[in-house]
Subunit: 106 residues, 2 copies
DNA sequence: TTGACATATCGAGAAATCCAGATATACAAT
DNA sequence: ATTGTATATCTGGATTTCTCGATATGTCAA
């Protein structure tokens, strides 16, 4: 996955999306019931399911799904399916490369 | 002038605007005739006039003027008028705060 | 004061984005 | 097989952005 700054900036140009990204930085803080659907022993570190994100974001299900998809396409989120749930988490690898890009090239 | 990340991200969500910001990082490299209209002894460090930017950006005069205005409103550029010319330059203060914001809060 | 030039602002059509409801898909449980 | 739940995708109207040409404003030079 390569890094397209403009796509990323578009993804971050919306308050709800920006909030989601920030919330996912501290999932246990912002999503107390994190991982509630996962069987014992399975943990998707930092991942939160769409429904929990939607509830917090107070936007429609389709909107949140599209937001998450958009952020994933921009490379800043990644998803893991588990049963009927999709867990999204930050792609820290890309995000730190972006921070470096911002610092040195912008 | 305070920092509104979303406005900044919108400003950076366009290839031409992003290019302008990058060009202004090394004005002497990208705008060889920089400061051509300034009288001797007057120098607007890092500043480039709208016409020179327009020529390089290959967009209409009004478009470039609006782009520059938008970037200024976002805080990432600042302008200095000199006679009939307006020189735009990067607001490095804001930009480095943004880089730090990106690194620590995004 | 007139004319020329640099830049800003206005107005508008085209294109893109926003965001919801409706529907589809995928999986789980019965 | 059927039902229920989670998520994705489709469709489309409303809003915003893009980008230009036209026009206005401001400044300098003659």
């Amino acid at each position: 996955m390569f890094m397209e700054p403009i796509r990323v900036f578009k993804a971050l140009s919306n308050e709800t999306r920006l909030n989601i990204l920030k919330w996912l930085k501290e999932p246990e803080k912002h999503f107390p019931k994190q991982g509630a659907h996962l069987p014992k022993g399975v943990s998707i570190k930092g991942g939160v399911c769409v429904g929990d994100i939607q509830e917090k974001a107070k936007a429609s299900q389709s909107t949140v799904s599209q937001y998450l998809n958009m952020m994933q396409n921009a490379g800043i989120l990644e998803s893991v399916r588990y049963g009927q749930w999709t867990y999204y988490r930050r792609n820290e690898e890309i995000l730190s490369r972006l921070a470096e890009y911002f610092k040195t090239e912008i």
